[in-house]
């Protein structure tokens, strides 16, 4: 049995919108709304969904970079939801995050050696010499020449900067790494290099990934399990093959059918969704997807569908599956 590394239960993150004379809370952006999932040691769970579905907020709240509105985060059996920043600090070295933007996420005034070394400084790990050594080793691991440690971020290409991001995240030997769209900003021929690097490092260092992405081809290639988000909710979770071969939620089906396939001879049945994603400030009542769902029924408006397990490890929140 795999060991459970992290689990979140009914996680909620609402951002208040202040307004009026006394700056009272007039409404909330329901970025993440009662989300539950777990990640086992050494596996990759992908979080997919369109922009505004709450993927990034989920990732950040799970790491407690944002304080959850309610819900529970359990890391290695320990409830970390209400730990203070001071209590969190020793745990932080086990969980790291890597960002999408290779340009905005590195300090332009710092040499890359210092950027990569910073986590070691923050956590006071090793002597100065050991830290330097660790940086050099890490740079080599991610495919950067250690001689470049004195150079500044602008001297590197987008792909190399993402390697710097990986090195910075991994230099303190974390267990869990949140990858927030790590390849979206890269050129096609560079994307595969970074994907290979991430997979190789995962195997070598037994890393656990929460992979946040919207490119479903990459998700299929990278993940063990996949969770699909829509407007702050997880609508379906399943093993990789199960999800791609037997999607059950109408949104998952539409999402998968919308992905263009790089083969002109494949003609796929396409479900074109009408309209746009509603605002998370004022999501539809009942099922959040009902306004665009081709199968919406009266009950979808009245009741929120419960998450049910339709097969081992395959959970879906849809009234179509509970009815009959």
């Amino acid at each position: 049995m795999a060991t459970r590394l992290v689990e979140v239960q009914n996680l909620k993150k609402w951002f208040p919108i202040k307004g009026g004379v006394f700056a009272t809370t007039v409404a909330s952006v329901r970025a993440v709304d009662e989300v539950s999932f777990f990640i086992d040691q050494g596996e990759t769970l992908s979080l997919v969904g369109e922009s505004g579905s709450g993927k990034t907020t989920t990732g950040r709240t799970m790491l407690k970079l944002l304080q959850p509105t309610s819900g529970k985060i359990i890391y290695k059996g320990k409830d970390i939801t209400n730990l203070t920043p001071n209590q969190m600090r020793p745990l932080r070295r086990n969980m790291q995050i890597m960002f999408q933007d290779p340009y905005g996420s590195l300090n332009p005034r710092m040499p890359v050696g210092d950027i990569i070394q910073e986590p070691l400084d923050v956590h006071s790990i090793g002597t100065r010499k050991e830290r330097r050594q660790a940086v050099a080793t890490m740079m080599e691991t991610v495919g950067l020449r250690p001689e470049y440690e004195k150079r500044y971020p602008h001297e590197f290409s987008g792909g190399q900067r993402q390697r710097i991001g990986v090195a910075r995240a991994l230099v303190i030997n974390p267990e869990l790494l949140v990858l927030d769209e790590p390849i979206s900003a890269l050129d096609v021929s560079i994307q595969s290099q970074i994907i290979n690097l991430l997979q190789e490092l995962q195997q070598r260092l037994n890393l656990t990934y929460l992979f946040i992405a919207h490119d479903l081809a990459v998700v299929r290639h990278m993940s063990d399990r996949v969770a699909v988000m829509y407007l702050g909710k997880i609508v379906e979770t399943a093993d990789n093959d199960e999800l791609f071969d037997h999607p059950l939620h109408p949104y998952t089906q539409a999402l998968l059918s919308a992905v263009p396939v790089p083969d002109p001879e494949v003609k796929r049945e396409r479900i074109i969704l009408q309209g746009d994603v509603p605002s998370p400030v004022n999501p539809p009542s009942g099922c959040h997807f009902r306004t665009r769902c081709p199968y919406a029924m009266p009950i979808c408006k009245e009741q929120e569908p419960l998450v049910i397990e339709v097969a081992p490890g395959h959970t879906v929140a849809c009234h179509l599956l509970t009815k009959k």
Partner: protein, 328 residues
């Protein structure tokens, strides 16, 4: 081969940018043929010259620093590079129009979308206000925006990204162009919205019969849309063939490598690494000698490092710029 009339014929186009740091040969040998009603894909990574090609067709290269220094762009047999500014203005937005990646920055935030679409109409057609409003509402309806009358008086910020892109398309198609250039028009959109827009473009192409030049880095998008595909690398076309041929038997090592390296949505997970192309796109200031792909090419020889290959027609309609094309 294609017995449709040739609409656009680009021959050895060269557009350079003269910057303080040196000369950037952004486009350095692009050949492209577009027939009437044909959907052509121009694919490549950033810096390959695909957008500069589009801007060159419309003669919208900012000068300085940019300059079209060579080649010909025939449109209906007439060289656009020989036209004066006045004549170009009659063609731009009328016979040839373009949609861009960023629908927010391409729309004017202080005018309603109705005003912006009717501006495009009255600029090229001699019609009065009432007629142009009617035509604008028709266009808004045509691109699938619900409640055209109400939308007419809305501002761009009141619309979502997908809706704005529809407005751009309405504007571009309002003059019944013969060629629509789409420069990464769906790149910024979510997949389900991208599917909507591609579906719309396909539908309108069938209905109105215009030719489309789709510029993108996304191989899957061109696989779905294009009949013919040209692959650009570092300012040059390296391969050009029908969509079927391109994906079934790519002959240029770059095309082959690119197709191999992208993860396939339909394939099960393996722990095998992807066959990635090593290295990175060359800096435009320091283009490699010989074939521009040689530093990254697994098959490169001394000859590739010294001489530049010409683009040759290997089989009818399949052009490749390589000394050692991959066997089909």
């Amino acid at each position: 081969m294609d017995n449709r009339e040739v609409l656009v014929d680009i021959k050895n186009l060269r557009t350079f940018f003269y910057t303080e740091d040196g000369v950037v040969p952004a486009v350095d040998g692009i050949d492209l043929t577009i027939h009437r009603g044909e959907v052509v894909g121009l694919v490549g990574e950033s810096g390959c010259g695909k957008s500069v090609t589009a801007l060159s067709i419309l003669r919208l290269i900012p000068n300085p620093p940019g300059k079209i220094i060579g080649g010909e762009i025939f449109f209906h047999g007439q060289d656009l590079l020989k036209k004066n500014e006045e004549e170009m203005r009659m063609i731009r937005g009328d016979k040839i129009s373009m949609i861009f990646q960023e629908p927010m920055t391409s729309l004017n935030p202080v005018y309603t979308i109705g005003d912006q679409i009717s501006e495009a109409i009255t600029l090229h057609q001699k019609i009065d206000g009432a007629e142009s409003k009617k035509r604008t509402i028709e266009m808004i309806h045509l691109v699938g925006i619900p409640e055209p009358e109400r939308r007419f008086s809305q501002y761009p910020h009141e619309m979502s990204g997908g809706m704005r892109q529809r407005v751009m398309i309405a504007m571009a198609l309002s003059s019944n162009p013969e060629l629509l250039i789409s420069d990464e028009a769906t790149t910024a959109l979510d997949v389900t919205i991208q599917a909507q827009i591609l579906d719309l473009m396909r539908g309108l192409q069938k209905k109105l019969g215009m030719a489309i030049l789709i510029i993108t880095h996304n191989l899957a998008v061109v696989a779905e849309m294009a009949e013919t595909i040209s692959i650009a690398y570092a300012g040059k076309i390296v391969e050009s063939a029908s969509a079927k041929e391109t994906f079934k038997s790519p002959r240029h090592p770059y095309t082959y490598g690119l197709l191999q390296s992208i993860p396939k949505f339909t394939e099960k997970k393996t722990n095998e690494p992807l066959p990635a192309i090593e290295g990175m796109v060359p800096s435009p200031y320091h283009m490699p000698k010989g074939c521009r792909f040689n530093p990254r090419c697994p098959f490169a020889t001394e000859k590739c490092r010294e001489e530049e290959p010409e683009i040759l027609e290997l089989t009818p309609g399949h052009l490749v710029r390589c000394f050692y094309p991959i066997e089909s």
